[in-house]
Amino acid sequence: MTGQIPLVQYLVLGDRPHLVALECTSCGAHYFDRRNACAGCFATEFRETPVATEGILRAFTIVAHAAPGIPVPFVAGVVDCDGTSVRGNVINCPPDPEHVQLGMKLRLATYSLGPDKDGTEAIGFGFEPIDATNGDAA
């Protein structure tokens, strides 16, 4: 049997792939991991909420040295998705400081990590430039 599985639980696949956050019903804080309580207000009720699929690159680095087996260079960054900060790689963009710039507009994009032994395909996510010319701006 074949199918797809997201790299992480907070990635929702389908026609419109997007991320979901756990939102604290008390203070509105957003989280991506399994929660015991809200780190901000200690409440224990959460609801799933979709995260905007477009955002602004707020911080990045171009990693040239990583653990053996991790392909380099790659761009790691933090994307402000309409108020929710998301960690992710900048993909579909040359990994150099001429093409990757603070403040650039990005959108969520998915890619395949390949099938496992049962044929299930894992799907990862990153963020790609919305406008190809955006990344080329000096």
């Binding site: 992480v8 907070y10 991506f32 991991d33 707020r58 933090v78 108020g83 603070l102 894992a122």
Partner: protein, 401 residues
């Protein structure tokens, strides 16, 4: 001369940082302890509590050290707080003295890190043969390199870039210039792991680790240890005039963790907990940033030094770039920062760092710093960050005796 419950550094010592192939962790830690005791003019018999830090070993470093320098039966607290481990050990000893449980405490931090390579995300877990969710994110495969980076140079690169996004004015060259300053400072420090000046071009053209941090812009993994003896004002008054003259007052001792804020679990926020620690420290000490004669701050990467000018309030909010460009943090500037050479050249044997930076400030306040003495230094600040996070800030003042 002072309140009886004031806290004083009675003696302090750091080993040379660098490669010590012939000394093991215990040898290095013991050397630092014996140096601190001799500097303090006391013995292990005088010490009521010991706090010890070492991250790379198998635990129990405090007891292992006692077996080499003196087993007197006192309590040992083995502490661990990432790169803030040394400051945590010192703070533990200070709290015990301040609580009145002991008259003297000993803090030590030691690490063997020479040749350790990349820290954080240094090993890649293999993909399994079946995509199966596990862990708190329900990940079916390792995420380092797929969802951002876990390497320290990469994390701190983003922290510097984030500052640039918020306030502007940063560039690869600016961060490299910060590194140029610290490497230049290190030429006067015989205990630094690396003490060669590096021209800006050389720094920028060196091996890129995580843009914008090249290799010389990253803290140097090395071996080293540091230890300190602390006491209270009442006890100090019973000691010799020479001990009183050389003692350095701990005007503030603060440890904080990162309070929750949006994004703090996405990219570590090293800013707010540093700002909180600094604010508390200035208030405790009754001094302002303008009163400081020197600062040793946690430049684990060139990108980190920039943000801490702001976090420690050495400049106006958002003004770190201008502060640096004004020349202020150079050793002949208005407020010298990292005259030791900082972690980028002095080196960063993790658990030793949070005591070694106190040693540097003490040497200046005691006017025993030789060629790199900051003239007439009276007040200094030492800062460390351990990612995760913990922040230690100590403000130190020269004895009035």
């Amino acid at each position: 001369m002072s309140a009886s419950d004031d806290i004083w550094i009675l003696g302090i010592h750091m080993t040379k940082f660098g490669k010590h192939p012939d000394l093991d962790t215990v040898d290095l830690g013991a050397t630092a302890i014996q140096g601190a005791l001799a500097d303090a003019g006391v013995t292990m018999r005088d010490i009521g509590i010991m706090a010890a830090g070492n991250l790379m070993g198998r635990g129990g470093i405090g007891q292992a050290l006692q077996k080499q320098v003196g087993q007197t039966g006192i309590p040992v607290y083995n502490v661990s707080n990432a790169c803030a481990t040394g400051a945590t050990a010192l703070r533990t000893a200070i709290m015990a003295v301040k609580a009145g449980e002991v008259k003297m405490g000993l803090a030590v931090g030691v690490e063997k890190l020479a040749g350790a390579g990349l820290l954080g995300g240094g090993t890649k877990a293999d993909d399994g043969d079946t995509w199966k969710p596990s862990g708190r994110f329900g990940a079916v495969a390792p995420t380092d390199g797929r969802i951002g980076t876990e390497t320290m140079p990469g994390v701190f690169a983003q922290i510097g870039m984030e500052y640039g996004h918020k306030y502007g004015g940063t560039s690869f060259e600016l961060f490299a210039r910060i590194s140029e300053k610290n490497h230049s400072h290190s030429t006067l420090n015989p205990l630094a792991a690396y003490s060669k000046a590096m021209p800006l071009e050389q720094i920028m053209n060196d091996v890129m680790i995580a843009y914008p941090n090249t290799r010389p812009m990253c803290s140097a993994n090395c071996d080293g240890a540091a230890a300190a003896v602390v006491t209270n004002g009442a006890t100090l008054k019973t000691l010799s005039l020479e001990q009183q003259r050389r003692a350095v007052k701990v005007s503030a001792s603060v440890l904080t963790t990162d309070p929750w804020e949006e994004a703090c679990q996405v990219l570590p926020n090293v800013n707010t907990l540093t700002r909180n620690a600094a604010r508390q420290a200035y208030e405790q000490a009754g001094v302002s940033p303008a009163d400081l004669d020197l600062v040793e701050l946690h430049d684990c990467f060139a990108t980190a030094e920039l943000v801490h000018y702001d976090n420690l309030m050495l400049c106006d909010e958002g003004g770190a770039v201008d502060f640096f460009l004004s020349g202020a943090p150079w050793r002949d500037g208005r407020l010298p920062v990292n005259v030791s050479g900082g972690l980028q050249s002095k080196g960063h044997p993790i658990s030793a760092t949070g005591i070694a930076n106190i040693w540097e400030v003490c040497q200046h306040l005691r006017h025993e710093c030789g060629d790199r003495q900051i003239a007439d230094a009276k007040v200094g600040l030492a800062h460390v960050i351990g990612l995760g996070s913990a922040c230690g800030v100590h403000i130190l003042e020269r004895s009035a005796a």
